[in-house]
Amino acid sequence: MGDPPVSAEGTNIDGETPAVEPTSVTDEATITDDAELERTLGLSGGLAIGIGTMIGAGIFIFPGLAAGQAGPAAAASFALGAVVALLVALPASELATAMPKSGGGYYFISRGLGTLAGAVVGLSLWFGLVFATAFYLVGFGYYAVDTLAEVGIAVGEGFVIPIALLFGAGFTVLNVTGTENAAKLQNGIVALLLSILVAFLGYGSLDAVGVIGASATPEQFAPFGAFPVVTTAALVFTSYLGFAQVATVAGEMKDPGRNLPLAMVGSVLIVGLLYVVTIFVATSAFESQTLAGFGETAMVEVGRHYLGAAGAFAIVFGGLLATMSSANASILSTSRAIYAVSKDALLPRRASRINLRYGTPHVALGLAGGPILVLTATGRVELLAEVASFLHLIMYGLICVALVALRRDEPDWYDPDFRVPGYPIVPALGAIASFGLIAFMQPASQIVGIGIMLATAGWYAYYAQDVTLKGAL
């Protein structure tokens, strides 16, 4: 790994120093001077985290909202989102192969751009994931109510939030008390979900282009013009927030030089394609205003349109699985994000304590679960989604900046297995696009997002001003 890198310095207000030690990385383990850390996640595990986190929102929550804002051109919004995600996924892949550690984006930025940027991103990522998880949970609530309606129990929309809260608390408790097979379960759910979607979208596409059944509803592609396509892209960007979560488990991935780029780029390409086809199928079934009227669970009506009751049931079932897997994967990422900042003394070390009984990080999971429940209770789907996107986009933009900063003056330890093609254009575009999408968000989301960033910067100034992380691998 080259010469010994700069070591982390300084203490926080509690007198804790960053726990940074020299390590060497092999394909199968990370070796520190007193222990080895086994790498146990394969490519399929990485893809399952990426796809599992992303797919819940794009297909099962957004089609109605997006079509209402942009018409059939919402497909272009999703495609635009995928391009932005790819422009960030490539630089993130390079950084992840150079620093295959827990913490993902936070880690790259704190090492590439210094402690202030790192602290703001690391703590904002915590809140970004909390907002995203609350958003997935509210979506889950809608699907749970619809599932009950499909089986003949009409409980009404008043139960959406209580159900979301119940399951949010349930996932948190489940993660604390620990199921060793959580990851395998996640893989299975993602595989089942992909099968349902490919079958449904395949049938729907054939129908929509008129190969089978009646031909599609003719409608102008972009009835509201081009501008809403971009604002909608800003809204639905939440559907792409999962790829960077792959980097939060970079420290546990086998053969990281190969698997990390494949998992990040691959999951963006797979879900991007599915999203675009979903919007095409949905807007072919109904006019966009009708879709918008169906709300969060518009896809259920699309399923009913193509395949009757069976189609509707397949979609509500898929929606339950998808929003559940997104929420659960995000809770896990949140706890890893908290661990990463606490390890570097930006939060009290006790935030990453593990309990002896279950071997799980109960404090970090609690710090994830508590705020998630508060936000879920608000039930503001669009605001939750946009704030989550805002905070993630800041991180994505800074990931690109960090890549450029590191490349301009490559430290000895910087030796990525994967180098981004098209440097410096790709990271430059990635940064511009990430920051650019923020400009198209609703003012309320921007204010909340900026408020959170200022708060995290304030925390850094109060708590950990003396801590130096730049270049401390």
Partner: protein, 268 residues
């Protein structure tokens, strides 16, 4: 490829995996049994998926290292402790396999409760060539007061008898006393556990993962659980596994393997 003679002259290495933070340690009997061997103590800690291994290392690393260093002196001496490694992992089996390969261990131990080992049961099962098991046992018991019982479960008596006799001949130069025990047409797993009752420890061959081992657990783990005593599992090495597979059509080794494959005890 090393010859039989080379194997006997080079020290044999045994990996001893221990769930170090769960307070696992080794019985005095196993420590004594492994005295002639090169021992690597593998302290591991298995974490649920939601916990990054590094997070556990940060919290428990020092405590685990202290405990491991103590155990390492039990295997070697206070001056020259045995080698040890500490691994935080999500997957115990993968960790044992990786470290065993990296240290070129010939066998790994499943700890168990035992006093001094006076009688050793050697099961000629699994995917490991009988020659390799015999070489390991010879190195283990050489010059010591340990009686060896060679055990084989088969449904074809003549070839089984022949294999046992050949193995007994190979070991007899090194062991004080060698007995053979052949179980014909009995469920191999139960027969092995029955035979284990009046023995202090078991040596057996590793077996490739199968559907059955995924459902009921690893063969060796089940034998260890059923017999209570320590189990030493002789690993296949890549070349042996290949040559065994090549020969398996016509030799008795094939009988041993297939006899084992047909049993499906589910007492776990």
């Amino acid at each position: 490829m090393t010859t039989q003679d080379d194997r006997n002259t080079t020290m044999t290495r045994v990996l001893v995996p221990l769930a170090i933070l769960e307070g696992e340690s080794v019985s005095a009997g196993l420590t004594t049994l492994l005295e002639p061997m090169n021992v690597t103590v593998l302290g591991y800690h298995v974490l649920p998926e939601q916990t990054p291994p590094d997070q556990a290392r940060l919290q428990y690393g020092d405590r685990a290292t202290d405990a491991l260093a103590d155990i390492a002196t039990e295997f070697g001496s206070a001056d020259v402790p045995a080698e040890y490694r500490l691994v935080f992992t999500h997957n115990r089996k993968r960790t044992i396999d990786r470290v065993a390969t990296e240290t070129a261990a010939d066998a790994y131990a499943i700890r168990g409760a035992t006093g001094p080992v006076e009688r050793l049961l050697v099961a000629l099962t699994g995917d490991v060539a009988v020659d390799r098991i015999c070489a390991f046992v010879s190195a283990l018991v050489a010059g010591r007061e340990i009686d060896v019982t060679l055990f084989l479960a088969t449904d074809h008596e003549p070839t089984g008898r022949e294999l046992l006799d050949r193995a007994a001949a190979a070991i007899s130069d090194h062991a004080v006393a060698v007995r053979t025990e052949l179980a014909v047409d009995e469920p191999p797993f139960d027969a092995l556990l029955d035979a284990a009752i009046d023995h202090d420890a078991i040596v057996m061959g590793e077996r490739a993962p199968s559907l059955r081992s995924i459902v009921f657990g690893d063969d060796a783990e089940r034998v260890a659980a059923g017999s209570v005593g320590p189990v030493l599992v002789v690993r296949t090495d890549a070349e042996d596994a290949k040559s065994t597979a090549d020969r398996s059509a016509q030799t008795a080794a094939a009988d041993v393997e297939s006899a084992g494959d047909r049993d499906a005890p589910d007492d776990q």
